[in-house]
Amino acid sequence: MDVRHEVITAKGIAAPKGRFAFLKKEWIRNKYLYLMLVPVLAYYLIFHYGPMYGLLMAFQKSYSPVKGILAGTWVGFDNFTSFFNSFYFWRLLRNTVILSMLSIVFGFPAPIILALLLNEVRHKWFKSTVQTVSYLPHFISVVVVVGMLNAFSALDGGLFNIIRSFFSLQPIMFFTEADMFRPMYVLSNIWQGAGWASIIFLAALANIDSQLYEAAKMDGAGRWKQLLHVTIPGIMPTMIIMLILRLGAVMNADFQKILLMQTASTYEVSDVISTFVYRSGVLEANYTYSTAIGLFNGVINFAFLVIANAISRKANSSSLW
């Protein structure tokens, strides 16, 4: 095949005779790219759009692996209404939203504050030392982090109770104490993630034009004024994008971590929609019911994302699309 000839004609003036001729030309020109995309699209269709097709189960009575999805009995929104009326519904919704909100309220500013503090450091070596050390916890797996929390909460000689006795408080069982679940969850998330998440804000800080700082100095702005008028506006787009993404996962409290952390005695505060879906779907095989709950969760997330994005676009700033 004469590649050179093809390139010339593709950019030539000869108008393609209709759609078919154009597609044929495109195929000849880019066929290897399309071949590359075959496994990629197959992957997305099977493993991402396949489960979306499976969502149809949410509107059915029961799931039969033999007959397939379309052979089931349709029951409309029955699965949803029985979930909304169930004893657990409000508890699950409340816990999911509270844990996410706490994570956003405390977890979202933490890396930004860390990045801003690091940005003010004048000694390069000190800055890079703090950065390197603060990334470390990110590489500890979630299982090990929960294992650490578990070891620290031992009644005899666990770190948490040693700290309590330091303030002359009685030792308690942290893992079965409902009041302790939220603080442990939120604080350990920050411990693990703040350093790593600060990277992206540091990158944004590094991209701010230094002339802006020079100009601010000329106008007599001190460091505080520079922070308010140059630094914060400079990283605002990054902050907004990160916040939109966070809001799009508002109903996804960290499933793996909560599942590992929760004990039967803390369900009152620790049981969230995703852990309930896991127990009900995977362990008890209520497939259609738990699919409906999962869909409810996904739709709320998606709505949050779209709304957050729209508000941000209206305010004439950054948006995802």
């Binding site: 493993f47 692996p65 990334y135 000689g157 990277i199 990158a203």
Partner: protein, 289 residues
């Protein structure tokens, strides 16, 4: 300009705060290490902050390393990390290169199809049933195929490929190179940094993976290290240590601490070598689509 008194106070406070950040990041690991080598009885009576070990023993480490489950978990994880990451890199490169070509017909539509999956999906149960129907339950592929491409990482890589000068690719085309040749001989070799970042991200994800094996593996022989760790760290009974681990409660706590150290050691060992890629990765990731 000389710093004012206010600035100096701020600088001092800032340094103190960041030193506190260092301390908080490192102290739990220090505590765990010191506890793991401490004398079991001293550990139970412990009322100190463990800045130094109390007594000394390595029995706990012996116990953990002699546990066949830990051993097989490591071997399995090694497989998931190497094979899984290789599949990830190949698939992500193909996707990123093909969709970074501006003249590809249908590119916008395919991008929409792919990015949509970032924000909405079938969820846990339909995915679980799909994997079951494909006959992947209790096979190693269950941890590799469903996670073949991370959409987020794909976007990072595609953005990176888009910054490669188009002339380079066009001139290779004129020389008669096809797109596979261009990808493997030209694009990937000049993208070493992004490849390193991708390798790091994917490998860490496989290393940490816990949900996949929890859902898809019943056969204990396939368990990755994370599941083994959960059994050791979070089970109240010591039976998970297998027969012969009947050493009573005292050493049990030491075993937990030793397990944590042994499982984080590989990361800490490769850490200095991969460190330099973090910021690069973030800089790449910070580029807006």
């Amino acid at each position: 300009m000389k710093p004012t008194v206010g600035e100096r106070i701020f600088d001092g406070l800032n340094t103190l705060l960041l030193l506190l950040v260092i301390f908080i990041s490192v102290y739990p690991m220090l505590y765990i290490f010191n506890s793991s080598v401490s004398d079991p009885d001293a550990l139970l009576r412990n009322r100190s902050f463990m800045f130094l070990p109390e007594g000394f023993q390595l029995e706990a480490y012996k116990q953990v390393l002699q546990n066949p489950k830990v051993y097989s978990g490591y071997i399995n994880t090694l497989f998931y990390v190497t094979v899984g990451t290789a599949v990830n890199l190949l698939m992500t490169s193909l996707a990123a290169y093909a969709l970074s070509r501006a003249d590809l017909y249908g590119r916008k539509f395919m991008m929409k199809l792919i990015t949509f999956t970032m924000f909405f999906g079938g969820g846990m149960i339909p995915t679980f049933l799909l994997v079951q129907n494909l006959g992947l339950v209790d096979s190693r592929m269950a941890l590799i195929l469903p996670a073949a491409i991370s959409t987020f990482y794909f976007i990072i890589m595609k953005t990176n490929f888009e910054s490669i000068p188009n002339e380079m690719i066009e001139s290779a085309r004129l020389d008669g190179a096809n797109d596979f040749t261009i990808l493997f001989r030209i694009v990937l070799p000049v993208s070493k940094a992004i490849l390193a970042v991708m390798t790091l991200y994917y490998a860490v994800d496989h290393w940490n993976e816990y949900m996949g094996p929890l859902l898809y593996l019943r056969d204990q022989g396939l368990y990755p290290i994370q599941i083994v760790l959960r059994d050791i760290l979070l089970s109240s009974s010591m039976e998970s240590m297998g027969p012969g681990a009947d050493t009573g409660y005292a050493i049990g706590e030491n075993i937990k601490y030793a397990t944590i150290i042994i499982s984080t050691l590989p990361i800490v060992m490769v850490y200095p070598f991969i460190q330099k890629y973090f910021v690069q990765g973030a800089l790449v990731g910070a580029v807006k689509q």
